[in-house]
């Protein structure tokens, strides 16, 4: 039976956030996400401009001064809509993609692709470092282990949210200055929603990192193990997505459901049913991963 106290979880989470900022760990996270978003969005606008210039040259029409004008027109055309529908093979998904400003789509892809790796890289020692330094010994005579681990996870999740929102703000800033016909309102709302989706998608990966960091007091080991498991999971997701089918192949489908990647597609569809179901899966997978680590931690020496 796992005992815990919501009050203690709250105290630990709050302290962990403060502690992360004081130790500059959180600042590192925020800067890392922000700089990545700034750089990636900047290169996205350059690439967009290059493509538009090339298209303008081929079509023998005048080039625009800023990137995005041609893309915006393309985005709104019926033929492009039909093309996207054909590409993704799903009308709802295509509709939902087309409705988003190009920058939001790019940021969504960027954050869903790279944020999980960053969180695994950064949170793989969240418990092991405290156990190794002995700092946990001052705490574990005061609260139960589960409350401590859960509080740490909640604190890291809040720092992660701050980092993702900072990256969204960075992308918005770059887009504002470098994209023509920048839709201030819809892009801001779209980016905010994309940030929340990316955060939800990162939760299982955070759960994985916190789960692994409970397995040993050796910090390098837990860091490496987190990264190895992240890549193994990604490869497994690709294989199971490819292999899933009827009959015995349903086992791959089942496996795919147990991986966060299995619910990633739902994040692109702006339909409450898909979003709520994906969100619940992400929370459940986060709990599943870190509780798996906790089962070992609860039985070992701290």
């Amino acid at each position: 039976m796992i005992g815990f106290s919501l009050r203690d979880i709250g105290i630990v989470a709050r302290h962990d956030v403060t502690d992360s900022f004081r130790s500059r760990k959180a600042i590192l996270w925020v800067l890392l996400y922000l700089i990545s978003a700034l750089a990636a969005t900047f290169f996205f606008t350059i690439a967009l401009r290059e493509i538009e210039s090339e298209v303008a040259r081929l079509a023998r029409i005048g080039e625009t001064r800023q990137a995005g004008v041609m893309t915006q027109s393309l985005w709104e055309s019926n033929s492009f809509r039909r093309m996207v529908e054909g590409l993704v093979g799903d009308r709802d998904l295509a509709e939902s993609l087309i409705r988003k400003p190009p920058l939001v789509l790019f940021f969504g892809w960027l954050s869903l692709t790279f944020s999980p790796f960053l969180i695994v890289l950064l949170a793989g020692d969240s418990i092991s470092s405290d156990v190794a330094s002995g700092a946990s010994r001052f705490i574990l005579t005061r609260i139960d282990r589960f409350s401590w681990v859960t509080g740490k996870l909640a604190g890291q999740a809040l720092v992660l949210l701050a980092a993702i929102v900072a990256s969204g703000i960075g992308a918005y800033g770059v887009g504002m200055f470098r994209l023509a016909g920048f839709a201030y309102g819809s892009t801001a709302v779209g980016l905010l929603v994309a940030c929340l989706k990316a955060w939800a998608y990162c939760l299982p990966f955070l759960g994985l990192a916190v789960g692994v960091s409970q397995l040993s007091r050796k910090v390098p080991l837990t860091r490496i193990l987190s990264i190895v498991l992240y890549f193994s999971g990604s490869i497994l997701a690709l294989i199971s997505d490819h292999m899933a089918g009827d009959g015995w192949r349903r086992i791959w489908e089942l496996l795919y459901i147990l991986l966060p990647q299995g619910h990633r597609r739902s994040l692109w569809i702006d339909d409450p049913q898909h979003l709520v179901s994906a969100g619940l899966f992400f929370v459940a997978l986060c709990v599943l991963y870190y509780v798996s680590g906790y089962i070992v931690f609860a039985r070992r020496d701290a």
């Binding site: 005992g3 105290i11 330094s133 010994r137 705490i139 701290a302």
Partner: protein, 306 residues
């Protein structure tokens, strides 16, 4: 008799290494007990098991009559100063104590009051907002001692509280711990036996994961039975002394210049023995340098382990 801590037949191994091999220990409520033993004897393991940080392989642990360590029951009542444990260096002194006090169940205001009280006690009020990393080793140790006494705990486990400190800091820490006697049951592990002698009223010798002797300090060091006289002479009139103290055993070591008188019965008090012996020594011109009740802890410990 009520006990603050009872360990019964506790075993613990680290791989093939046996740390505790059926350890038994009873610590009365209100006692200040010194855990004595060489490195690797099992002192730290015993304390960590009592505090719930390590899992015993077998055996029973009873803290404050409520069974083994359970955070819900024991938080704030049982605290520990872990050996060599570090706190985050960027954390502020008061914030750290407030955080730990809150985890003991105190409200924010109570936690601030408790932290301030402890900072005053360990004389670090002026460093309340300093990051822990800016403190000297001695100051840091005082913070960790402060956390162990936050919120009036009933059982405090102090693992090597003075290790790595300079003599002045050792005196400070010793003074702090002594000032808390009678307010809590305190268990102190240390290699420095003279230090334990000044702080403790009970003692337990641990060797190879077992308790080889425990009891009141005065019993272990025979304070009621032995009086040692350090003299500045290589000869003393042993026959005359034996005649003056027929109910005592008398032994003189010429090389150590130490006269030891041991009571065979409890008929005489140390004061009676002194009253009969000192005139004899002075009459025979034996200069007396020091009178000591009992033997010392170091001697008893060495005798026990040899």
């Amino acid at each position: 008799m009520t006990y603050a801590l009872r360990l019964r037949d506790v075993h613990k191994r680290y791989g093939r290494q046996v740390a505790l091999d059926g350890l038994n220990l009873d610590i009365e409520r209100g006692a200040v007990l010194g855990l004595v033993g060489k490195n690797g004897a099992g002192k730290t393991t015993a304390m960590s098991i009592a505090a719930g940080l390590l899992r015993a392989d077998s055996g029973t642990i009873d803290l404050l009559g409520m069974g083994g360590f359970r955070p819900k029951l024991h938080r704030g009542r049982v605290t520990i100063l872990p050996q060599d444990a570090r706190l985050p260096t960027h954390a502020r002194v008061r914030d750290t104590l407030v955080f730990l006090a809150r985890l003991q169940g105190l409200t924010r205001l109570q936690a601030i009051d408790a932290a301030d009280e402890m900072l005053t006690w360990v004389d670090l009020k002026d460093r309340a907002t300093s990051p822990l990393g800016t403190l000297s080793h001695g100051m840091f140790r005082r913070v960790t001692i402060a956390q162990a006494f936050l919120g009036s705990p009933e059982l405090v486990l102090l693992d090597e509280p003075t290790s790595g400190l300079d003599p002045k800091q050792v005196v400070q820490i010793r003074y702090l711990i002594r000032s808390r006697r009678a307010q809590a049951t305190i268990v102190i592990s240390s290699h420095i036996l003279s230090e334990l002698e000044t702080m403790c009223d009970h003692v337990a010798f641990i060797e190879n994961g077992r308790t080889i002797r425990d009891g009141k300090l005065e019993d272990v060091t025979n304070r009621q039975k032995i009086i040692s006289y350090s003299v500045a002479s290589e000869t003393v009139p042993v026959e005359v002394i034996t005649a003056a103290l027929p109910d005592c055993g008398v032994h003189f070591s010429a090389s150590a210049k130490l006269l030891t008188v041991s009571q065979r019965t409890e008929s005489s008090s140390p004061a009676d023995i002194n009253a009969r012996l000192l005139p004899v020594l002075l009459e025979h011109g034996v200069p007396i340098l020091e009178i000591r009740l009992g033997s010392n802890l170091e001697k008893e410990y060495l005798q026990q382990v040899q």
